[in-house]
């Protein structure tokens, strides 16, 4: 197969192109993703849990430990059974506080603690980089196996793929700093990868098991007769299978929710609690499907006499050895997909965590010391975009110099966050000091029991240190601490690290007091009343916590807390003044709201008498048709009535601007309809009107109210321009983020004094105006989540620009509108 690399590269490039197109399409067609389609993306994306370790590693694992490998997947099934009592409270806290990473979650639970955020980030960083390295290595190995290369060949091809993944991750994951925003492009491509890795795995498995190996019953039958294979159908070759089964179940259950990619897809990208309930039954089925044929393939590889040391590659080597190269190619693409989706989501989630918890606070303190102003938004955005490729690059270097076999080691590392995270969900007295003590203790024990033996195995540390223990003290042997779990390193590491972690957490929490800010955070977390405070101080805390909550999605709770603390001084006189101003503004707003309601009610009641007066005028007109003087009086009264009617209608429009009935609208149709409505005025003035809008520009809005907005603005433009020479242009354009309408004219313009007041109700420079036209426009546009601005040069013309965020136009169909910073 010497000519294989070219075909392989071509197929890979086509596949990468498809992934990119899906991400691009997902980001550009958010309106297509209605509630059900988004739910499908969500439940598929959460299957990013299945990486190349599932695709290749499961078979290798099963070849040594039989069905015990399944604990990696039954653990998640167990935790999904606890959706109502465990996952739902986590989701609610994530949504309430706007947290976007595991470290954010822990930091917000323990009062916006910076130290908790940093320790959590470091633990996850140490656990995840080798895990990304494992994916990179799987990519490289599968490429070289399929293309008959040797060793670490095809590094260039791997690098090309990684560069592509970094670009996609930056474009569709690092697009905004607010990670609570739906990442349509990223989720679309990850969901597609979840689907194709399952389909490819099933195609290859069915082929290997049924076509090549004669069916599962035949495989089991042949294996029973072979004493070397029989244990694989049961508990494999583990010395302590039951302990190992329980240990792997526990660590994988924790990993399923605390791995950064899992937390991101399950909690941060969730838009509806119902989707989590759907995930609770969909995930077990998905995991079951992808594991159905693992044991038969592991047995089949052994029956073919393939080397057990390379059991990870059985799914690739069996079709290659039997001449089914197409099936091998399908496996390669599935494995690539599994690795790529993990690298994408994990690099985004980890980079966000490192940037907000370590990078940005560090940079901010440097800028502060140098007394330099810093644009926090750009700092976070560009730091994240730089961190994403760096994380991937670190994964690549790790794979190249792979020192430690990772997989379960990574899971046990992540499990060190579980006590402060999971116990902290229910244990009200758990505090920051306890969480820090527990996590640090557990992590040290994890490094001691898993990393030292691995380094020892790689001959970086003295070979005997793992078995004999430091200074020959056998009881301190990293592989068998205190001689309890002989020959079961996973249970040894998990038990001792978690046991000491939990003990440290509970004991330190029991004997130390919480800081003030931590008490408020705990009170909010458990929805209980905090300690009674002075009203002023309580208001201050409330305002601070609200500001912090608004900043959290972008910079994390710890940085948000420090920004708010810096911005706020506890100067009570300043605070009193601020609260007084706030109270006065609130009072004014309430008063205006009452006046608005009253006006709307009066306006509504006036409509019937106005209708009666109009009818009476018609009768009077009939009676006075031969009396010119009487007709003049009646016409004057009719003109006055028309003005009253317009005022009444304007008040009603203004008061009901927030009531929207959104439908799908074509922007060009909306503009054309309005111009048609105003055709008479346009023709009377003999002016030109130009429309620039493509048919494809569509959005969700209240058609009647958008029609009112356009009618108001185009009528104003018609009034502003001179006869014959007047020119008006109306355009609607769209980009990734916004839909923009622009109405421009070459009329008389607005003087600067008036320009500042045009949105004030009842302010008008026209003799016949009600002063409600532009305030109505502003209210209607605001009600749609958009904004309006006017640029005018007196004597040269006016431009009115309406900007509607595209996501908000879409989001109204799937979720309530929420704010966030954009690129």
């Amino acid at each position: 197969m010497t000519d294989y690399p070219f075909i392989l590269l071509a197929v890979l490039l086509v596949y990468l192109g498809i992934l990119f197109l899906i991400a691009y399409w997902g980001e550009r067609h958010v309106e297509w993703l209605n509630r059900n389609r988004w739910q499908l993306l969500y439940i598929l994306s959460a299957q990013v849990y299945c990486t190349s370790w599932t695709f290749y590693g499961s078979i290798g694992f099963a070849s040594h430990y039989g069905i015990e490998y399944l604990a990696v997947y039954t653990g998640p099934v167990l935790i999904l059974l606890l959706t109502e009592v465990l996952l739902m409270p986590i989701l609610r806290h994530v949504k309430r506080e706007g947290v976007t990473t595991v470290s954010d979650f822990l930091s917000s639970r323990y009062g916006g603690s910076r130290s908790i955020a940093v320790v959590t980030s470091m633990v996850l960083f140490m656990s995840i980089i080798p895990y990304i390295g494992l994916q990179v290595q799987a990519l490289s190995n599968s490429f070289s196996t399929l293309a008959s290369g040797g060793g670490r060949a095809y590094i260039e091809a791997t690098l090309i793929v990684l560069i592509f993944l970094a670009v996609v991750a930056i474009l569709y994951g690092g697009r905004y700093i607010d990670f609570t925003r739906p990442q349509y492009g990223l989720m679309s491509t990850v969901a597609f990868q979840s689907l194709d890795k399952l389909v490819f795995f099933l195609i290859a498995s069915v082929f290997i098991v049924f076509v090549i190996s004669g069916g599962p019953l035949n495989i089991f039958h042949l294996s029973v007769a072979n004493p070397d294979l029989k244990p694989l159908m049961f508990t494999g070759f583990a010395d302590h299978p039951y302990l190992m089964w329980a240990s792997i179940n526990i660590s994988s259950a924790i990993a399923y929710i605390l791995l950064p990619r899992q937390f991101h897809t399950i909690f941060v990208q969730n838009r509806d609690e119902k989707d989590l309930k759907t995930l609770a039954w969909f995930s077990p089925l998905y995991l079951l499907m992808i594991n159905l044929f693992v044991i038969p393939i592991a047995l089949s590889g052994n029956l073919f006499g393939l080397p057990v040391a390379k059991a990870d590659d059985f799914i690739l080597t069996i079709p290659l050895k039997t001449g089914y190269n197409i099936i091998a190619l399908v496996v390669f693409l599935g494995g690539f997909s599994a690795a790529a989706s993990m690298i994408l989501v994990e690099s985004i989630a980890v980079s966000k965590m490192l940037v907000t918890d370590i990078g940005v606070p560090g940079l901010m303190s440097i800028f502060r010391r140098r007394e330099k102003q810093v644009d926090l938004y750009k700092l976070v955005l560009y730091s994240t975009r730089i961190a994403i490729p760096l994380i991937i690059l670190l994964g690549f270097f790790y794979s190249y110099f792979m020192l430690v076999e990772i997989g379960l080691t990574s899971f046990v590392g992540v499990a060190q966050l579980a006590p402060s995270f999971l116990i902290g969900l229910f244990y009200k007295d758990g505090n920051k000091k306890g969480a820090l003590a527990g996590t640090v203790t557990g992590t040290v024990v994890w490094l001691y029991t898993m990393i030292i033996p691995a380094l020892s195995k790689a001959e970086i540390l003295p070979a005997g240190i793992a078995a004999r223990g430091p200074f020959g003290i056998r009881l301190l042997s990293p592989l068998d601490m205190f001689g309890v779990f002989n020959s079961d390193p996973i249970t040894n590491a998990l038990f001792w690290s978690l046991f000491l972690n939990v003990m440290a957490y509970l004991l330190v929490s029991a004997f130390t007091r919480r800081a003030g800010s931590e008490s408020h955070a705990a009170a909010r977390f458990f929805n209980i009343s905090g300690e009674p405070e002075e009203p002023l101080a309580a208001e201050l805390v409330k305002i601070q916590s609200e500001l912090g909550r608004l900043l959290t999605p972008s910079v994390g709770p710890a940085t948000a807390k420090s920004i708010v603390a810096e911005a706020f001084t506890l100067d009570s006189s300043k605070l009193s003044r601020m609260l007084e101003e706030f109270g006065a503004a609130l009072e004014k707003e309430k008063r205006l709201a009452s006046i608005g309601e009253l006006s709307a009610s009066i306006a509504h009641d006036l409509r019937s008498p106005i209708g009666a007066i109009r009818l009476s005028m018609g009768t009077l007109e009939e009676l006075a048709k031969d009396n010119p003087e009487g007709m003049t009086t009646i016409n004057n009264a009719k003109a006055a009535m028309t003005r009253i009617e317009k005022l009444v209608n304007d008040i009603l429009w203004y008061s009901k601007a927030d009531v929207l009935n959104k439908v799908r609208i074509c922007a060009k149709d909306a503009i054309d309809d309005t111009i048609e409505l105003l055709r008479k005025e346009i023709e009377i003035k003999r002016i030109s009107v130009h429309v620039y809008c493509e048919d494809s520009v569509v959005f969700w809005a209240d058609a009647t109210r958008i029609g009112e907005v356009l009618t108001n603005l185009i009528s104003n433009a018609i009034e502003a321009v001179e006869e014959k020479v007047g020119s008006i242009s109306v355009s609607a354009t769209t980009d990734d983020q916004n839909l923009t309408f622009e109405i421009a004219d070459n009329g008389k313009g607005i003087n600067p004094q008036a320009l500042g007041k045009v949105f004030t109700p009842f302010y008008t420079t026209k003799s016949s105006g009600t002063g409600l036209g532009l305030p109505i426009v502003k209210r209607l546009v605001n009600a749609h989540g958009g904004d309006v601005r006017i640029e005018s040069d007196e004597g040269a013309g006016t431009r009115v620009i309406l900007v509607f965020p595209r996501t908000d136009f879409f989001r109204q169909t799937v979720e309530p509108i929420s704010g966030g910073l954009e690129d």
Binding site: V77, L80, E84, M233, F234
Partner: protein, 59 residues
């Protein structure tokens, strides 16, 4: 009441999956059901049941 019952089922399934194997060592019995090893049949059955429980619990 239905809430209590579904929670009870959840706990029961958890118990089965995690502890029956270690306690009764059924995974070492080397029994085959229609030619398929009992542990595989057992695990995938419990697994499928878990999905059903989760589906009904989410309704």
């Amino acid at each position: 009441m239905p809430m209590m019952r579904s929670k009870g089922i959840v706990v029961f399934v958890l118990f089965l999956t995690l502890f029956v194997w270690p306690v009764f060592e059924i995974f070492d019995t080397e029994v085959f059901v229609l030619g398929v090893p009992l542990p595989i049949v057992y695990l995938f059955t419990v697994w499928g049941l878990s999905a059903v429980v989760a589906y009904r619990g989410g309704k």
